[in-house]
Amino acid sequence: MTKVLEVVDISKYYIHKTGWLPGKKICALEPISFSLERGETLAIMGETGSGKSTIAKLIAGAEVPSQGDIFLNGQRLDPHNYRQRCQHIRMIFQDALRSLNPETSVGAQLAEPLHFNTDWDQEKKTSHVVETLRKVGLLPDHYNFYPHMLSSGQQQRVCIARAIILEPQIIVADEAFVALDPSIRAQIINLMLDLQQDMGISFIFVTHSAEIVKHIADKILIMHHGRLIEFGTTEALIKNPQQELTKNLLHAESKHNVLTHSTIQE
């Protein structure tokens, strides 16, 4: 396995300015480093405001880091070079409908990244879009649909199609499963696992659902107040958590859950 992504001492500060006074420095993320291998899944967990979304945004290039570097396949990513980054790292958001343009058809939205990043002619673009739609379990007919005409699960599939259309190496998903119904959520998880197997994509999931993390993640990164407090493989963290917070996050849902009661387990 080769290292796809390497994050070295990355951090983020915001300047909170009030009136004439010089601004106060607020630390959203203290320097952290980690790496990700090809086809691997990393889950970032933590409480609200612990900086987990900040990491996702920094990796996807939506925010510029205050310090530190991100390396993709050993090559340093320039914070402002979006052309370089957008082909390799893509992002999926929580609210699918809001992240899609309501005025443009699904096909046109999917063709847009191709328009900016390739020199293909229209025919080739269209056929690639249709092929991608098939890959995520939609029909070629959906090419002419508008986002509001689709159900929430289909909208999330369009978002995934948009993310994979340039055949990226890393996909960052920020709470992509929260707003979905259980059966649809399982469908989307299945789809993402299939895509990972077919295309060898590495995933970075930001989530607070312990069950999903246990199912899909290879490594877990636990954040607390902008600091990395624990990082390790899923098995190790479940079996032998070093921090109280890790234990809480990974077992919080089961504490109040009937499904984990002994009667059901038998």
Binding site: S151, E253, K255, N257
Partner: protein, 331 residues
Amino acid sequence: MNILDIRNLSIEIETSNGPVRVIDKLSLQLAEGEIHTLIGESGSGKSLLAKAILGFINPRWKITADRLWWRQYDLLALSRAQRRQITGRDMAMIFQNPGTYLDPNSTVGEQLRESIPSHDLPGNILTRRKQIQKRAEELMHRVGIKDHDAILESYPFELSDGVAQKISIAMAIAHRPKLLIADEPTTAMEPNMRSQIYRLLAKLSAGDGMSILMITQDLTAVIPESKRISLVYCGQLMETGPTEDVMREPVQPYTGAMLSTSLFSSETKPKSRLPTLTGAIPTLQHMPIGCRLGPRCPNARRACIEQPPLRSYKKHEFACHYPLIEVDSHD
């Protein structure tokens, strides 16, 4: 004794394609001091049922029921004023996004004091105010907020989701209702906050004998204190019964699918494909006839175009022609 008794409730609403039965012959019983969990995906009519119980429904929509009783009152036969009186006295509801329905213009304290009934308190206006303040603080303690002074003075936007939900629970229990309807109280909340809210609701039910109708999307949100669950799909009742029985021996294919998708149930191997239902929930305009699960059901056959009657198996009831377990038809 059942304090809430619903038998064959149907709600018909007008759409562009003519009338549609959003809730189709749904039955539900709630005993005193019981927590009943109602599970269904979005669009299955569970919030509508809650609104029908409270009487918050568009008056043009047609509600029919064999029975919609609250204690000895037939809710459908009452006048609007009488119904309001019962709803106001005995029932309360909490919602999904506490931040959005607290008034952003007034402090938490003002809103909480407003919800405390003051007409039956003794004394004059000054002593009443003191009593109300005391009761507000007491309510804050009940829902597990210790620094009541700071929270009472703050505005809703200053609170986190969990605290805002606790405030809304405090407001809901201010007049000591008999029935609390919790409409997805913890969706999009952190796991730790989630279990705090669950614990609080369970405590309220056990301490005060308050009945709680808990509405959730997910089987993982069922708490051990909830003795009975009902699964609803597209307004039709799929399965109902004691929680442990239903979880151990799901009879309806829908229950089985929900259990297997909730990841916890079986020893699912990491990174394996999750068994789930195909397709998505139908829209109002395209409701299937007969059993509405039909197009997504793995067991569906020809007979499913007729709505199955409610049958019983051991302690639970279900509606299905082809259940997961062989059920004796004379049962």
